[in-house]
């Protein structure tokens, strides 16, 4: 049931046209941040206003929407955004990655491989990968124009000199189609390989910073590294304690004040699907029992 006092998917048509034009230019120039006149949304900046505007501009009444935060469908902000689109667009929603046509995400790429026809919309806080090296937009814009990314390599190299490794664990910078250095949003670097050559279209929205960018399907996305220090995606060296998965990204949960902890999949749909098909981790229980609790 949509709320009829607002337009379909909340935004007015003129605003949607403006965002749609920015998305198309983003697709045409992969990895380049297109400025757009981000609107004030009825939720705070920093809470996904960019992603929400991109999703609103892409949604059709036929879509099935999934919203995740930290990989989970049931985190409060994911619940809130999902509810917003149920109210304003009346679209179907799902927690199943495979059933969704549009997935809005904060900080994760789903574990389940995406397919053609799906759109993954990222919420982005700071879209400029060079921002923490050079705070001025006027300067970073010039660097992108001139493909002058030496500063980034110097930073990564200084990490190696000091720590013996690149000390960036999330929002790990990538280069798109050999041209633009791009911030993949604060996903763990474990997720970086999934950015490249995905059959799905990936759109990035930064509301407060007024930028939209895109990685089209089947686009080469390379995590920056050095020949002698190749990029390595990492995760906690454990299996999921609920479903036993060894290849998924894990959240650490503190279970008591004696140092007890367990590791569980951050992707709740992935974990649930595995448990439903009979996989049980070291501390897990069969799925029906867990649901009843």
């Amino acid at each position: 049931m949509t709320e009829h006092s607002y337009n379909f998917a909340y935004l007015d048509e003129q605003t949607k046209r403006m965002i749609r034009r920015a998305i198309l230019k983003g697709v045409a120039v992969p990895g380049y941040q297109v400025p757009f006149a981000s609107r004030e949304m009825p939720m705070p900046y920093g809470w996904g206003t960019g992603g929400v505007q991109v999703t609103a501009a892409c949604l059709t009444p036929d879509d099935t929407l999934k919203v995740i935060d930290q990989g989970a469908d049931d985190t409060t902000n994911a619940v809130s955004i999902r509810k917003f689109f149920q109210r304003t667009a009346g679209v179907a929603v799902t927690e199943a990655t495979t059933e969704a046509s549009i997935i809005q995400t904060r900080h994760r790429i789903p574990e389940t491989a995406l397919s053609a026809g799906q759109i993954l919309v990222y919420q982005v806080p700071i879209p400029e990968p060079l921002r923490f090296l050079e705070p001025r937009e006027t300067e970073t814009r010039k660097m992108h124009e001139l493909e002058e990314y030496g500063l980034m390599h110097v930073k990564l190299y200084e990490d190696i000199a000091r720590h013996g490794t690149i000390a960036t664990a999330y929002a790990y910078p990538v280069k798109v189609e050999g041209r633009y250095v791009m911030d993949p949003s604060p996903i763990p670097k474990f997720d970086n390989p999934k950015l490249s050559n995905s059959p799905a279209l990936q759109l990035f929205g930064a509301g407060r910073e007024q930028r939209i960018y895109a990685v089209p399907p089947f686009t080469t996305v390379v995590s920056l590294d050095f020949d002698d220090h190749p990029f390595q995606p990492t995760k906690a060296p454990h299996d999921c304690d609920l479903c036993g998965a060894s290849e998924s990204y894990l959240d650490e949960v503190i279970t008591d004040d004696q140092g007890g902890r367990m590791f569980v999949c951050s992707d709740t749909d992935f974990c649930q699907t595995r448990r439903a098909s009979g996989h049980i981790g070291a501390l897990g229980v069969p799925v029906s029992e867990g649901d009843a609790a």
Binding site: Q14, K16, L24, P61, R179, P216
Partner: protein, 189 residues
Amino acid sequence: MTPEALLGGFSDAPTQSSFAFRAALEILSRPGEIRALTGATPPAPLSIAAGALLLTLCDGTTPVHLAGAHDCAVLRDWITFHCGAPLVSAEQATFAVGTWHELHPVTRFAIGQPDYPDRSATLIVEMADLQQSDARLIGPGIAGFTLLSLPELAAFQANRALFPLGFDCFFTSGTRAAGLPRSTFVEAC
């Protein structure tokens, strides 16, 4: 204003433009794909697909250039009435509509600035026919290669050489459309 200029817009803009945009997004994201683009019934010579694109993407903030036979009273009125877009010369256009022949020389169109490559024109190229044949497309959005019946090769190769600058294209024929962003490499089969 001609009476037929008042007709042929979207009857349910929020819904119809959402479907039209998704189709436009799909075809620009996957060069070589051909999709239906409907909802508009513009006066001739504008195709249904080109009409739907204009209604979905253009408004008072996007100068439109009508090329050749498309620069006629009824279409000027139709765009003014339904989109409110100012009609301008090729050099000033954000969107341009015409046959490939009418749009030539395409070097007139905005290709963006080195610091703002997004400030470039989008060409809506009206085609007699649209087939997955003739030219081989390689690049972002394409697994391996795809085929598309482009009107020529040289202009698109020259456009690709400008990357990240360059114009972007939609090809329209009746209710069907395909996309070709500046990022695509094109070659003969």
